[in-house]
Assembly symmetry: C2
Homo-oligomer: 496 residues x 2
């Protein structure tokens, strides 16, 4: 039945995608479960939207027939309409809210967890499918909705095991920056220029003051010789923006005074100061002080659509990057207020605020802090000496499972020696063996595989058999469950 | 900032896709968690593969450029290769096993849960995206691997709350049918004819003996006048097959004798009888008797690729269908042995056996048996009387959460009356109110919303205010958590 060789497809993963095994899945499950528990605790409820949306509903232009895949994965349905896989969870939320607006209880508070797809060039650690975990409050302009998300994010990071000081959530407000722009005579409805300014500021960490100054003015040539066009601001305008994002004030009071001067009489700047004040007041009353959530005008977030509070959770501890250099881990979550969620559908302004966690980055961060929980429950493998009578082994695993243990009878066709290798390679904690003589005596042998591996390492190969014996114990068949529970104490458990 | 109306996209779901809300998600989570726990208990480990596979690896022909979407969702990657979304979890498993064969511990035992996509015409209850939950053992030809899956499926259905008698797992073996075909002089390598026979038998429940007889012979015209071509068997050949799938034997012994006669000297028939005997022996030794797992030659499963044991879990209790008719629920899970999983990639035969659960169907079935667990944790909504001082409400929810309760402070901008409506519409169990006077007295008011709704139903509208009052209680602010826990007893909890 095998096809001729020339017709055989290659078994290979698509470019930019990956398979994931038990340890990674277990670690992720534990993290997601914790986040979910905190979000549920705050009264958010889950929503699931499909993988596909109509391309026009995602807010991308209708794809060109020759290049249907610019940034998103798109295809034409058989009725001629273009479908795209979601590239984030915010665009589907906007479609959902616009479609169900009349029937939603507002504020509408939902969380959503799921994969998103980006049709981008893959690279090391950059995949074209990854998980996002979002929570949003839709239909409230109140700063308490923003403050709540900040507290929830802080609680989430601590519930995951991060200590205070391991992370900091930096908070800013887009209206303050808009106030500075307005006071500097830069038109806020010049979206293109405003976008260039935002992306320039967002690169402050990487390019420093000099690089950002160049991008705010005429532009900047990078090391490879590529030229990025600048925002075309005057030296004075650029100066005011830099004074905002990289202030030289000695303390918070001086900093706030400096901002008040920079936004001058700008109405949007005043609104930003008022929002910031209300959020900080509420945070402070609930004991979320600057050791957890810190006002920092350096955080602007690159995305164009934020309209008020913006924030970013950063991990502060050093880690080794792929090149072996010690770096600060950086951002693992972020969000903010965006008050025109559904206007592209309905023309109506609906205030909204949200937070999004980059799940893979967060899991890497936790692992580098020793907070990974990848190990599953320990596994017991019961070998099958006599294939004609597998029932004895199956009865043992049924008893073990009834006692809450994870257990499998060997279902392959290999001989005993290979069954022991199988148990080892599965990472089983214990192998159970019931030979014919033993059965007659009403006994079984338990082999502690973790201990066996340890002992074998410690002795010379000639003495290996002694080590083997030390890791084995013969017990009464009737005591199987109790003896295994005894062996699976804190020392030998958790290997599977 | 709103775009001109003529450019606005419509907010609509793509055809054949759906959004899902909290109750459905909670019910599904509970079911998936139970299945996962049983599968883990049996020693299966999770695997996740990406949504996309290369189209040729999925086993579909390279799509035609004009019709890239025949049954699967396909698109061309920017390097010219065709990608498709997985339509099941078996094809990705085959690709994974073929690509990693040397490094896998065999038997390789994995479970996978995830959405699959079918580019088919949607209909009522038929979606183009749905969940599958599969478990497979790869690399063992032993009947004990099949028997284990049958026990695991039975345990899973009972762990979900189904009683013995509510379900039956019907077991058959493809080799028996092949034996009957062989003994009737029908060539087994005539895959087309064998396929027609399989699909005809699979329709026995729906079409009856007469309809299947027609399909086994020249063909059948249905009520709409459409003609389905038959397998072209002789009357004698069709008779033997019907005697196999719809036997008239009085008891199991007579049935087995009848099968032995029908398969005659066919080697594959003899192999089938041997496999069946081993599986039934193991099941019976482990007390999985015919009240749970029953030999039934009427179950053949429509798919071409099964090569040995085939089985199907059916629910036996009557339910109302969409037309209000009383019907038997039918199949919720199935599977079997397929021994050429990876041969299309490697040319090598690798034995495998698996089980797949149709998650949505199973959840509907459980719901119709009153076994749904859709309700989440009860929610407490703390209203905010004085927006300038939301902190008092935020402190209350923080205390409630610290005690393990689900609680939110109102973060919208509506007045008090609308906040109570919000709490009601959210399905909250309790609303907490702290008026200015109360605060001065160190008290808060708890309103039992479930009780309030009940009382309001029971009385005339004039007396509604009394009912309202009965559902309210004033408590000491210091006793907030204890008093709410008292209210959230078994009667009022579980509504959110």
């Amino acid at each position: 039945m095998a096809e001729p060789k020339q017709n055989r497809p290659k078994a290979r993963l698509p470019r930019g995608f990956r398979d994931r095994g038990p340890a990674e899945i277990a670690a992720e499950r534990a993290v997601l479960e914790t986040v979910r528990r905190v979000y549920e605790g705050y009264g958010f409820s889950p929503l699931e939207t499909p993988a596909f949306e109509y391309t026009d509903a995602l807010g991308k232009f209708l794809p060109d027939v020759d290049r249907p895949n610019e940034g998103v994965f798109s295809l034409r349905d058989d009725d001629g309409e273009w479908l795209s896989l979601r590239y984030d969870l915010t665009a589907p939320l906007a479609r959902y809210v616009a479609a169900n607006f009349q029937n939603l209880t507002k504020p509408f508070r939902r969380y959503q967890l799921g994969p998103v797809w980006r049709n981008e060039k893959p690279g090391p650690g950059r995949f074209r499918e990854f998980l996002q975990f979002d929570a949003d409050t839709v239909g409230s302009a109140s700063p308490s909705a923003d403050a709540e998300l900040l507290m929830m994010l802080s609680d989430t990071l601590e519930a995951l095991g991060l200590q205070r000081g391991d992370y900091i959530i930096k908070l800013n407000n887009r209206k303050l920056l808009d106030g500075v722009l307005e006071a500097s005579g830069i038109a806020l409805d010049d979206r293109v220029r405003r976008g260039i300014v935002l992306r320039a500021i967002d690169k402050l960490d990487r390019l420093g003051v000099e690089g950002v100054t160049a991008l705010l003015a005429d532009g900047r040539k990078d090391e490879s010789g590529d030229f990025t066009k600048g925002a075309g601001l005057s030296a004075d305008q650029a100066q005011r923006i830099l004074a905002f994002v990289a202030p030289d004030a000695k303390d918070e009071e001086a900093h706030l005074n400096q901002i008040a001067t920079l936004v001058g009489t700008s109405p949007i700047g005043a609104a930003g100061l008022n929002e910031l004040e209300q959020i900080v007041k509420l945070l402070s009353a609930c004991d979320y002080g600057p050791d957890r959530i810190l006002f920092d005008t350096g955080v602007v977030r690159g995305l164009d659509y934020y309209t008020g509070a913006v924030f970013e959770a950063q991990l502060t501890f050093p880690v080794q990057n792929e090149a072996g250099e010690t770096v600060v881990f950086g951002s693992v979550a972020g969000g903010g207020r965006y008050d025109d969620l559904v206007s592209r559908f309905t023309g109506q302004m609906v205030p909204a605020t949200g937070v999004s966690i980059g799940v893979s980055r967060l899991i890497s961060a936790l692992a580098s802090r020793g907070l990974s929980v990848g190990a599953g429950e320990p596994l017991v493998v019961v070998t099958v000496m006599d294939k004609a009578d597998a029932a004895a082994s199956f009865k043992m695993v049924a008893e073990l499972r009834a006692a809450g243990l994870r257990a499998e009878a060997y279902v392959g066709t290999a001989k005993f020696g290979d069954q022991m290798k199988y148990a080892d390679r599965r990472g089983a904690a214990i192998a159970v063996i019931e030979g014919g003589d033993e059965r007659a005596r009403g006994e079984v042998t338990l082999k502690d595989l973790a201990l066996g591996a340890e002992l074998a390492k410690a002795v010379e190969s000639r003495a290996a058999w002694t080590a083997e014996r030390q890791a084995q114990v013969s017990v009464k068949r009737a005591d199987l469950v109790a003896e295994i529970k005894k062996l699976l104490g804190p020392t030998s458990a958790g290997k599977a």
